[in-house]
Subunit: 410 residues, 2 copies
């Protein structure tokens, strides 16, 4: 939680953290900015102190909504240093040193966070090492275990409220999509609308994107993949493909608050008109795996336990898994789930190799699946949920789990 930041800094022996804004969406920055917003600049937070923002003079208004002190980054001091060093990059690096000193830091260990261009940050740190040797600038080596990963993993009440709102709105768009599909009729194994046109995946995606905007959400790359494409977990689906009856469609929708913010993540597998026995059988097994996982999840449990149980189940049904066949592309080919929040994938990871522990306040996905691209199908069912401190698992996703979408013939 946000209130843990100072403790998490102390644990890492950090005198300060810098969050660098580099024009792209930046979860640590968004997490800390309250209602403020900046596209470039720095947030500097000393241990035990409030953050200070250094922003372009163009962004002082948007920055001030954060409630933090706002100072101007591109001030005459920066210009003077660029001229003194006869180099823009060296001038900026030297300016970071001046800024840290102005924040009362004469030296120390500084954690660098944020998101952006890798080459830029590596180059900047190399210059800082040369020009400001009184500071040690560090990243973190633990995958999904950085200071912010740790803070993100436990959601506060306001975050859960936002996650719940995004979930409700995503459920609504799922329902609208279902209703829109069923307003079509079957003709020659395809879906045809009132206007006589065949429905394509591209049209469905456009419908969904606009429906999301109507509830102030934005798509971040939904999957709507049919038949063989559904057999590859991350195949997005082909826009020009017509929707076909009796094919498994994996519809993985993971929108976020418009402009960046909290995600929801859910998947339904739909088969239009009817399902083949093969797909129905796989669906039933995935549903069983889903229930196995949901029923056992508890705070305090090693995060890999539910995945191990699901692996046991799928393997007992004769499927290959990432445990029996690392890198396999058929059977159960991914982990059970992951945390969600300001990142679509965050801690705790729920692979069988995960060393995390589940805790009250985690927001996680549960998403078992079976994939047989050579047989022309894939199936995945995914809900997001909150692990409550009292041991309950509260679903965020509430949309029904029907495989078959009824379609009338004409």
């Amino acid at each position: 939680m946000k209130s843990d930041i100072d403790a998490l800094m102390a644990k890492r022996n950090l005198d300060a953290i810098i969050i660098v804004a580099d024009e792209i969406y930046n979860p640590p920055l968004d997490y800390m900015m309250n209602d403020g917003h900046i596209t470039t600049g720095l947030m500097i937070k000393r241990h035990g102190a409030q953050p200070v923002l250094y922003v372009s003079s163009m962004e002082t208004e948007e920055a001030a909504r954060s409630g933090y002190e706002v100072r101007i980054y591109n001030d005459p001091g920066l210009i003077a240093l660029v001229q003194e060093h006869k180099d823009i990059s060296r001038g900026h690096a030297a300016w970071w040193g001046r800024i840290l000193a102005a924040c009362g830091l004469e030296g120390g260990r500084i954690g660098l966070y944020g998101a952006g261009d890798f080459s830029f940050i590596l180059g900047r740190v190399a210059l800082l090492k040369e020009l400001c040797p009184q500071y040690e600038f560090v990243g973190e080596t633990v995958l999904t275990g950085t200071l912010f990963d740790e803070a993100f993993a436990t959601k506060g009440p306001d975050e859960i409220e936002r996650l719940r709102s995004v979930a409700q709105r995503t459920d609504l768009v799922m329902q609208q999509t279902w209703d829109w599909l069923t307003s079509h009729h079957a003709e020659g194994g395809l879906l045809v609308g009132e206007d006589g046109h065949t429905l394509t995946i591209g049209k469905v995606k456009r419908f969904v994107r606009k429906a999301l905007l109507d509830v102030d959400l934005e798509d971040t790359a939904m999957i709507f993949a049919q038949g063989r494409d559904a057999g590859f977990p991350h195949s997005r689906g082909e826009d020009n493909d017509a929707l076909k009856l009796g094919q498994a469609i994996v519809f993985d929708l993971f929108p976020r608050e418009l402009g960046g913010g909290y995600f929801h993540d859910m998947t339904r597998t739909w088969s239009l008109g009817y399902a083949t026995p093969e797909v129905q059988a796989a669906y039933d097994e995935v549903m069983t795996a889903f229930d196995i996982a949901i029923e056992m999840i508890k705070p305090g449990m090693p995060a890999n336990q539910p995945q191990l149980a699901v692996l046991d189940y799928f393997e007992s049904r004769g499927h290959q898994t990432l445990r029996t066949h690392p890198g396999t592309q058929q059977g159960y080919v991914h982990s059970l789930g992951h945390g969600i929040g300001l990142n679509i994938h965050e801690a705790p990871g729920m692979s069988h190799l995960s060393t995390a522990t589940l805790a009250g306040g985690n927001a996680i996905t549960v998403e078992p699946g079976l994939y047989y691209p050579e047989k022309g199908f894939g199936v995945r069912i995914e809900d997001s949920c909150i692990i409550e401190s009292d041991g309950q698992v509260t679903p965020l996703t509430t949309f029904r789990k029907d495989l078959v979408v009824p379609i009338e013939s004409r």
Copy 2:
């Protein structure tokens, strides 16, 4: 251009480059991936050789569309190294070393590119230094001067085609927005629609976002800021504010191809119904500055020259500028423009401190403005254009530059 990559690597003495995919949109990766797509993994390119992709087994299909060789990242070798090191992060770092060796690199200087979590890449490089000391992993220190910045700056014919298409579609949405505004009528100084509701900035933005989706573009954070808000170049505008007659509205629209890709960038300043003399006068000066810049831009010219001419002009008219008053928040408070492509801001930068040189194939914005938040207005006019090798400057933006949007009273 993409065909320059090997030469740009040689200039930097790089034996190979790695582009790291870290879930977020990644311009260098997109630039190199042709029609392929991955969310995690590595692209490794030795000097003089074709790239090789290491991707999750879930993403082999989407990766293969690139036309490059695809290998599986999460294969048994990775699992073995994670177990050997008893640590996921160290296992991954050691695996990068194995992958580089498998690509025929026994050692050497490796440029790291891509976009993502800063703490992750700094931590990963620290581990690589320890576990794979035969390689030197480097970033670049020159702001907007990295290998990819240099490559991006000169657009090839296929890129110009895409930029032109995005521009045409953006112009279309501008026209639709104009038409939609003029379909409202004035009532008590506000805009009222057929449905009797007052038009707000939030409604305009939703209209624009949906209109963009209809032409396969996505908004990336448009500015539609009115009155005092328009006086701050990066204020986005308040969703709940009603549109008011006779206020300057800065409408800065910079969408990109849906899902990530080439940007367009244009700004119009509109005043609904009528303009105040003060805004009209500022508008006329900004238009003059725009024409001064457009008329002098030529390939081979230092990129700061047009800005110097615009600074001379605005200062001669009595305005403060970033040259006379660094960090000022009134007058002309930003640079003249920037390159556009897969990034909204890329080389060449066109500030008065820029050391770049304009060249044929550059795609740039020209966007002078005047800002007086205390007087309750701001004005900016922005087109994007291509600098042709023969010396011509071809506009990408063609939408009319009218200040006053006619609104009928009822």
